[in-house]
Symmetry: C2
């Protein structure tokens, strides 16, 4: 099972540029990917697919978009590389569930028939549930269970700013709510620019910034390198 789970897509150097070599390594010679644009809400899926197509072209990977397939289930069953873009996690999960694609994607990645690249909402989707997304619940996805391809939750775009005058919760306070109600489920706070490479049951953190584990009442930081599963 091979996955690349990115915190974010944009970078100072351009769209997905920070992850180009990691994408090349993950693709392992595959020259065709199936893109899932359903997290896009305020952008139309055609232009989202075009942006991803342009980012993947220099890497030598042609991109088909799931929303342009006559038979999405057949397309997913034939795909060897899934690319799941960010946007709104609730919307992403809703559309995949409506189209009956969750089991198809999970099955192909689990069997090794396909590899998986996700960023932001696409990384949330690979975890057990979407319960640690930062997104607004703009639609009801019909249940929070997701692909469950890794045994921990991810919180993308992780940071813990205290904003002057803001009286809502900080990110750490929100994640503490999760770990209070689910004390046995680890959450990885993944900062901008970082990603996790999953290979079987080996996990490696990449990126410049320390990530943060949350488990029960404990939190601790980890830097790039092999990522031990917390217990």
């Amino acid at each position: 099972m091979d996955l690349l789970l990115l915190s974010n897509s944009t970078s100072d150097d351009g769209y997905l540029v920070h992850a180009a070599s990691a994408i090349t390594e993950l693709a392992d010679g595959r020259t065709r990917a199936l893109f899932v644009p359903y997290a896009g809400v305020t952008r139309d899926w055609d232009s989202y697919a075009e942006q991803v197509r342009e980012a993947f072209a220099p890497i030598g990977i042609a991109v088909d978009s799931l929303h342009q397939q006559a038979d999405p289930v057949a397309a997913a069953n034939a795909a060897t590389l899934f690319v799941v873009g960010g946007g709104n996690t609730f919307r992403l999960l809703q559309v995949l569930r409506q189209q009956g694609l969750l089991d198809v994607i999970a099955g192909r990645v689990r069997s090794g028939d396909a590899r998986y690249i996700g960023w932001s909402a696409g990384s949330n989707l690979a975890t057990p549930t979407i319960r640690t997304t930062n997104d607004m619940p703009v639609v009801d996805p019909g249940g929070f269970d997701a692909l469950n391809l890794v045994p921990f939750q991810i919180n993308p775009h992780y940071y813990n700013l205290e904003i002057e005058g803001f009286r809502g919760e900080t990110r750490d306070q929100r994640l503490a709510e999760f770990t209070t109600l689910s004390p046995d489920t680890p959450v990885l706070g993944l900062p901008e620019g970082d990603w996790v490479r999953v290979s079987g049951n080996r996990y490696t953190l990449h990126g410049e910034h320390a990530a943060r584990w949350f488990l029960g009442a404990r939190t601790w930081d980890v830097t790039a390198g092999p990522l031990a599963q917390p217990a």
Copy 2:
């Protein structure tokens, strides 16, 4: 139907102090309130109820907490003033649904038998759905429908900061996702310190900061005073 929907509870002068006169006006002589502490996740409900009790004591209102009632449904059916605290909106909705209290509370407020004070998650709860909460979906509430006591959504703690280096969505981008998928539902972005007083079908905005309406692709600011329902 009489409601007081606050953006937030804390203020520089102390807990709920900024809203004390508004609470007195809303209570209209009632000297007993039923507090709903279920949005509290990382704090225990006993201490949450105690904090609210202390804040309401100077106003001359005694506070019972729903979680300390032997028969919560009977207590809700007897209450004449509901006070619904902030915290996590998903948790609040989950517990109220599990206890079969949503219809009871909505019915008593709609009939005029009880009045309603909410802040943050408690304000989200009074709207048609919780789909414009800022909270993390740490538990699945079993559906997003809420009390539907006002004909518009509220986004509490409203602000639209752009944070250097943060590559996730801004608040306005999140709300634009909502209005893209629900173009006919108005959302009121309610800044810190502000509140809405509902009296029948009259709505009045209070507070120092301009609030912002979001409806379809349009947004516009409104200042304290009568709040016209957007159409």
